[in-house]
């Protein structure tokens, strides 16, 4: 609906009021980037050529990708069941999925650490096969997975729900087993939701600080490196990395969005 200002005065007012959030967000980020570029371009260059910083950013993207991958593997089946079936305790399951959104992430980090540290029974089992969580990549991935999986699962569930179950039923009458109906009909039709859920989950993982810092301060992911530099060398040391992280993330997300839109159009 195109807005005709005279016919929809309230909508005009709402648009003006509503733009506050947008302006606040964009201005905050632009301000930081602009300050960095204008007043300290050399700091940015230093950061961009600092191997430690680059490795840290790469580690962040990689660890979050792994966390999202795990969310896709384990979350897709769960999302499908939630979308298609009613069962006793379903609302409990759904509440559990949303739990990580509610609990403070430092709390989640402590809980994960308690469970997975090498001295604990569970962590000990993993340690005996060479998987160490504290201050190692698996710890980062576990923390990111904990906080980001729900984003993927909820998006995937909505995606499966958006596919009429009768399409699957028709496929069944045409001779498809349930799994073929899923792979040939439901999955292709829900894939855009799955993809955008995965992108959201990945983004959420990259931005995680609280849960990761509890279990794996080292190797430093970018948010932790930024915090560390901020507390030791102040804005001068931390802001360039923050700017780099923002630019890289935005570039990646925008290109993924464009790609998935293209893909959807076929």
């Amino acid at each position: 609906m195109k807005m005709k200002s005279r016919r929809y005065p309230l909508s005009i007012l709402f648009s003006v009021v509503g733009s506050f959030t947008i302006i606040f967000t964009v201005f905050t980020l632009l301000n930081m980037v602009a300050r960095q570029v204008i007043w300290d371009p050399s700091g940015l260059v230093d950061a961009a050529t600092d191997g430690y910083v680059l490795r840290s950013i790469w580690l962040t993207l990689y660890a979050s990708f792994l966390a999202t991958f795990i969310a896709v593997v384990f979350g897709t089946p769960l999302a499908y069941v939630l979308a298609r079936h009613d069962f006793k305790g379903k609302s409990v399951v759904e509440a559990v999925i949303d739990l990580p959104v509610i609990i403070p992430h430092s709390v989640a980090g402590i809980a994960l650490y308690t469970l997975l540290m090498s001295r604990s029974p569970v962590g000990g089992v993993f340690a005996s096969i060479g998987v160490v969580f504290e201050d190692h990549l698996p710890g980062i991935v576990a923390a990111m997975f904990f906080v980001s999986a729900s984003l993927y699962i909820n998006a995937a569930r909505d995606g499966f729900q958006s596919v009429d179950y009768r399409l699957e039923w028709v496929a069944r009458t045409l001779g498809a087993s349930q799994s073929r109906a899923f792979t040939r009909v439901t999955l292709p039709l829900a894939v855009r939701h799955l993809l955008s859920g995965a992108i959201m989950s990945w983004a959420r993982g990259i931005s995680e600080f609280g849960a990761v810092v509890m279990i794996a301060f080292y190797p430093m992911i970018a948010p932790i490196l930024i915090y560390y530099r901020f507390t030791t060398t102040g804005l001068r040391g931390s802001q360039p990395i923050a700017v780099m992280l923002i630019v890289i993330c935005l570039t990646v997300f925008l290109s993924l969005r464009v790609l998935s839109k293209r893909w959807e159009r076929g």
């Binding site: 399409l167 039923w169 028709v170 069944r172 009458t173 045409l174 001779g175 498809a176 087993s177 039709l189």
Partner: protein, 360 residues
């Protein structure tokens, strides 16, 4: 081909109560019932998506309970067509053959055949969302028929279409059924569809199967008041048989009605379809055994025809022309004539009611 034995199921809002019927091989079987009677669920039960709570279903003489939907040999066409939106018409039609691992050569032949049968060869590369409702319906029927199912299930296949498309597709359904001879179960709330297409009609009201019969008998000789009302028998008269001679019953229902009937006595219902009543302003000589003098109460326009309601409780369908010619209006004096064969009589169970006590 299909046999329901005392099938009951409960979906909360919809129920099937002790439903039993049999559909013969090659038969075109129409399940007729008001909207919301659970007819779609009946089809989905045949297709194997629901298990009856009690009773059993036989397909080809075999208990269907253990058969998965993909093993039942049914083709399903939903009211909203349910075409796969990410596939072209041809891909939709090929789907079932791919699932059956039919050879490429045979696949091509069968797809071509069925597209031709439904006259949609030109649409083969189009996506469903670019098709009209009628075209989508043809594609959906083609997709169901290409697997050469033993049973074709049609869920309100014509309801979502405009009148012209509906009539065209109705003719097509008949032509296709003649060409293929596939056992068909077609559910609808539309009586004309049933009358036009069915070999036999099953009427389901409130989850109960109330009559299974030829379309002609369902429409002209309904077995109960419920069926009569549903199939548009507007004249339902309560009366008592007062005399009987040579196959004709005399029924007293405020006025006397002669009816060809087997019922010789007792309380009855007499059903007369409104289109079987002829209206005139003078009594005229005809073969009609019943001529009832009545007064017009109301004339209601119902599309192309008018319904004349009279003080005798008789409703008569007349054309616009008759309304003008006879100058029909409330309080007009008219004669309603109908044949003794146009009256269908069934026994009426008299409820034992406490008679109203009138205090003196």
């Amino acid at each position: 081909m299909i046999r329901f034995e005392n099938v009951s199921n409960d979906w909360g809002d919809f129920k099937l109560k002790d439903v039993g019927f049999h559909v013969g091989e090659g038969e075109y079987f129409v399940v007729l019932g008001p909207t919301g009677a659970g007819k779609t669920l009946l089809l989905e039960t045949i297709a194997g998506f629901y298990t009856p709570r009690s009773g059993r279903i036989l397909l080809r003489g075999e208990d269907a309970e253990t058969l998965l939907p993909e093993q039942r040999g049914v083709g399903f066409v939903y009211q909203d067509y349910s075409l796969f939106p990410h596939m072209t018409v041809e891909e939709n039609v090929r789907f079932g053959l791919e699932m059956r691992k039919v050879s490429a050569e045979e696949m091509e032949r069968r797809v071509d055949d069925v597209l031709m049968l439904l006259r949609i060869e030109k649409l083969r590369d189009r996506y469903p969302k670019t098709l009209s409702g009628g075209e989508q319906q043809r594609a959906a029927i083609a997709r169901a028929l290409v697997i050469e199912p033993d049973i074709l299930l049609l869920d309100e296949p014509l309801s979502a279409l405009d009148t012209r498309t509906r009539e065209a597709l109705r003719d097509e359904l008949r032509r296709i059924h003649r060409a293929r001879g596939t056992t068909t179960v077609h559910v609808t709330h539309d009586q004309t569809e049933a009358l036009f297409l069915a070999d036999r009609v099953a009427v389901i009201i409130d989850g109960e199967l109330v009559q299974v019969d030829t379309p002609d008998r369902v429409f002209n000789k309904p077995g109960s008041v419920k069926v009569a009302e549903f199939v548009g028998v507007e004249n339902v008269l309560e009366g008592v048989v007062t005399g009987y001679s040579r196959g004709v019953a005399s029924i007293e229902c405020g006025f006397e009605v002669k009816a060809v009937s087997e019922i010789r006595e007792g309380p009855v219902y007499a059903f007369i379809r409104p289109e079987n009543v002829i209206l005139s302003v003078e009594p005229f000589p005809s073969s009609a055994r019943n001529v009832v003098e009545c007064t017009v109460m109301e004339v209601v326009k119902l599309g192309s025809i008018h319904q004349v309601k009279t003080d005798r409780g008789l409703n008569i369908a007349v054309t616009q022309q008759s309304v003008e010619e006879f100058g029909l209006k409330p309080s007009s004096r008219v004669y309603a004539s109908f044949k003794a064969t146009a009256v269908h009589v069934i026994k009426r169970n008299v409820q034992r009611r406490t008679p109203a006590v009138i205090s003196k």
